[in-house]
């Protein structure tokens, strides 16, 4: 028996999901070692470029953001207080009184290697009460705070800019309750999305959110950023599925609103303020969410199409003919799939090359019924010539392999260099025009090319067709200010003209903060600022000397407080 066969057999016995390439090694692969290495290269390894180059500090990349002097500096006494409060040694990473640079790094920088802060203190409270005490102390001392979950965000919202204290939710990771009859799950903020979903899978339910980062992201962070993901089309946004939550306000007040009720029209629906506010008015510590029954029959088809016209026709046909079982309709352009091939070396499921690809998923309760609907749909789109070619997953392995062609794009891009990411909502008919226009613009300026002398490798588009949500990605060899200036604010103006959104599901963070005006009018921004001031105020006490009257006037100013400053709005 060869080593590779032993390995395959062992994997098979363990029933582990495995990359397709390992299960079916390519003929020319002669040694088992190569086969394994190839397998590891596909999608599983994290960024290969890690640690080869230092990440630029956000404060250097954004020189217009200045540290607000109203915030206090962390002292040794503060650290002592937190250590006593949180008790456990592992709950505090102390870079104030000790040298902990290496330990702090993962909390200071994001996985895209785009944002990097200067924090010297990370706190990992283990309970809501501890969060409350931490925030109250910080508020009293005017110490700025950044709430952090799995740190998988794409806009720099979960890492500090300066020396804000990182309050990480990873130690709050208990599932509190699940009721099979209502499908309501109550869990701590730090539960990893995939863990929650596996827990629900054993109980034949499904977490109503799924996204590429599911293995790392925390559900508290998902709720705080109102993450959208792959199956929003079917299960709706978190604004609908979250029934209640528990959060802590900056002054330590615990907002206990963990309702498990589907209907509750008693007063303002305040929980909605914490969904998508990116930790700027409070820190979410627990979530109550309604989960649908897990579909028993899931099918995945992958299409190649000749034009965006046909993609739209296919989408309309899918909506019409698959309506209640359609659970995802994803769009990938030819260039994005080319980059996945380049990065992973995997064999593409279709023979020919097409400018557009779609992935359709159906989820239902009866595989025979679903199959009958799906076959009618497939016959229709093939017969009408809407779809040029396509495959249908025949087993679970193929099912996962096909999904990786969509989910693996982000990771494939990160292997090949940096990426300028724009996550936008645009009316469906013009969804892909943005990619064409952006490519034309950058090509005209001479930025796009095949060899290393060009900063831009490719302009690609993919996204959640079913939600009119496009991801415009400009893959660059290095981050380059000139390229950035050519894209921004041009891309935002383009979107504004079409009444689109400059941030569909990724949020604002540091990256989009100054562009909010392209998608929200002045009144809306003013109302948002009022909310921020209401829930997270910090008082600035000034003593004014008036020479004329020769007496002191004490004035209190209220300013934005400690929660995730420098970001969002």
């Amino acid at each position: 028996m060869s080593g590779a066969r032993n390995l395959s057999a062992a994997l098979r016995r363990a029933r582990l999901p495995r990359p397709r390439i390992l299960a079916r090694p390519i003929l020319s692969t002669s040694s088992p070692a190569t086969a394994t290495a190839t397998a590891l290269r596909s999608f599983s390894a994290s960024s290969l470029r890690a640690d080869t180059k230092q990440i630029k500090y956000t404060s250097d990349a954004y020189p217009n953001i200045k540290r607000d002097p109203k915030f206090a500096e962390i002292s040794a006494d503060d650290v002592k207080f937190f250590k006593e409060l949180l008790g456990s040694e592992s709950a505090v990473i102390d870079g104030v009184t000790t040298d902990a640079t290496d330990d702090l790094e993962p909390f200071n920088s994001d996985w895209m290697r785009k944002y990097r802060g200067h924090t010297r203190l990370v706190l990992k409270p283990g309970s809501t009460e501890e969060v409350s005490k931490v925030l109250k102390y910080c508020n009293d001392r005017k110490l700025a705070v950044v709430p952090q979950g799995g740190n998988t965000g794409l806009v720099g919202g979960s890492v500090p800019v300066f020396d804000e204290i990182v309050v990480n939710t990873s130690r709050m990771n208990k599932i509190r309750s699940f009721d099979a009859a209502s499908g309501v799950l109550v869990a701590d903020a730090g539960v990893i999305l995939e863990t929650a979903d596996s827990y629900l899978a054993e109980r034949e339910h499904l977490f109503p959110l799924d996204l590429g980062a599911k293995g790392s992201c925390h559900i508290g962070g998902n709720v705080s950023t109102n993450a959208g993901g792959l199956r929003l089309l079917r299960y709706g946004s978190l604004h609908g599925t979250v029934l209640g939550l528990e959060a802590v306000l900056p002054d330590g007040t615990i907002v206990e609103s963990l309702s498990t009720l589907r209907k509750n029209n008693t007063g303002y629906d305040l929980k909605q303020l914490f969904i998508g506010s990116e930790g700027t008015i409070g820190l979410v510590t627990a979530v109550s969410i309604i989960c649908p029954p897990r579909p028993k029959a899931v099918n995945v088809a992958y299409f190649g199409l000749e034009s965006f016209e046909q993609v739209q026709q296919a989408y309309l046909a899918a909506k019409g003919q698959l309506s209640e079982i359609l659970s995802a309709f994803e769009l990938m352009d030819g260039r994005s799939q080319g980059l996945v091939i380049e990065s992973t070396g995997n064999k593409h499921p279709l023979e020919g090359e097409y400018p557009f690809y779609c992935l359709i998923e159906t989820s239902g309760s009866n595989s025979e019924h679903d199959m009958a609907k799906l076959e009618t749909f497939l016959e229709n789109v093939m017969g009408e010539g809407i779809v040029a070619d396509g495959v249908l997953a025949q087993d679970e392995t193929q099912f996962q392999a096909l999904w990786r062609w969509r989910e693996g794009i982000t990771e494939a891009l990160s292997h090949l260099g940096g990426t300028y990411k724009y996550d936008v909502s645009i009316p469906l008919s013009e969804l892909y025009q943005l990619v064409e226009d952006c490519k034309a613009r950058l090509t005209e300026k001479g930025f796009v090319g095949d060899d290393d002398s060009f900063p831009v490798r490719a302009v690609v588009g993919y996204g959640h067709m079913g939600d009119s949500n496009l991801h415009l990605n400009v893959a660059v060899r290095q981050y380059n200010k000139e390229v950035e200036k050519a894209i921004e604010p041009w891309v935002y103006e383009w979107i504004q003209k079409r009444n689109g959104s400059i941030s569909a599901e990724h949020g604002m963070g540091v990256a989009k903060k100054e562009y909010i005006g392209y998608s929200q009018n002045e009144t809306m921004v003013k109302l948002m600022k009022q909310l921020k001031a209401l829930y997270d105020p910090v008082s600035i006490f000034l003593s004014l000397n008036s020479s004329r009257c020769d007496h002191h006037t004490n004035v209190i100013f209220w300013q934005n407080g400690i929660m995730n400053p420098y970001k969002y709005i």
Partner: protein, 245 residues
């Protein structure tokens, strides 16, 4: 000897490779109700190889590829998959040897084992019953000439072994042989129109008697999960508690 290749590919419908099998309540076998089933991965390789033999246009033309499976009412699902990958027709039957004789088959390509029972015996038993040459766990199959000489390479400890035999023969396939294709939509449509016949044991004049009885099936004892400690102090106290320090 042969003017063309008439290939038989017996396939099996098994619980999907990626699903964790569970024992049924009566402890008589694995729970199959409501569990996703697929084509046995090794059989998928066999179909792929049969189709490739046709596409390679070697010295012997492939006349016909017949997929065959024994099993319950859902069995046609995997036969349709086999036909979508390129098999010409399919039989849904209860018996292998009779088909080989009746259909004038001269090459049988089958997976080295089914992933549910892991018995790995069908190819060998069939070869024994027919008195044909057999080459197992093939990693490469080559038709050398028009008289039906076949070279099969398979992996052995520390290297490869190449066998040569004349048709008719039995070949069982291993993982390294090829990378099975996806079933494309046009082929799935075509597969629906390809002939799929239901045959019973009586068609071949054979009677089925069960000689083995499954007494009991149990899961291996669950592995005790490890614990996670927060920090070094936690580790030390845990080690002391367990008497390791």
């Amino acid at each position: 000897m042969a003017s063309g290749l008439r290939i038989l590919v017996p396939v099996k419908r098994v619980i999907d490779y990626a699903i964790k099998p569970r024992i049924n309540k009566a402890q008589t076998g694995v729970e199959t109700a409501g569990v996703k089933h697929s084509l046995n991965p090794f059989d998928e390789l066999s179909i792929e190889e049969a189709v490739r033999l046709r596409e390679r246009k070697g010295p012997l033309k492939v006349e016909n590829i017949l997929a065959l499976s024994a099993g319950g009412p859902k069995t046609p699902d995997v036969l349709r998959t086999a036909m979508a990958m390129g098999a010409d027709r399919a039989f849904h039957i209860d018996m292998l040897r009779g088909v080989v004789e009746k259909e004038n088959i001269n090459l049988v390509l089958l997976g080295k084992q089914a992933i549910d029972g892991d018995q790995g015996q069908t190819g060998q038993m069939l070869a024994g019953l027919l008195g044909w040459s057999q080459a197992n766990q093939a990693s490469k199959v080559e038709i050398k000439d028009e008289s039906g000489t076949v070279e099969v390479t398979h992996e052995v400890d520390g290297g490869v072994e190449t066998l040569r035999a004349k048709l008719p023969m039995i070949i069982t396939t291993d993982l390294r042989l090829n990378e099975p294709r996806y079933a494309s939509l046009p082929n799935i449509m075509k597969a629906k129109k390809k002939p799929l016949e239901k045959k019973t044991l009586a068609d071949f004049g054979v009677e089925d008697t069960r000689r083995l009885k499954t007494v009991k099936v149990t899961e291996p004892p669950p592995r005790k999960g490890g614990g996670k400690v927060d920090d070094v102090d936690g580790l030390v106290s845990k080690l002391k508690e367990l008497g390791a320090l």
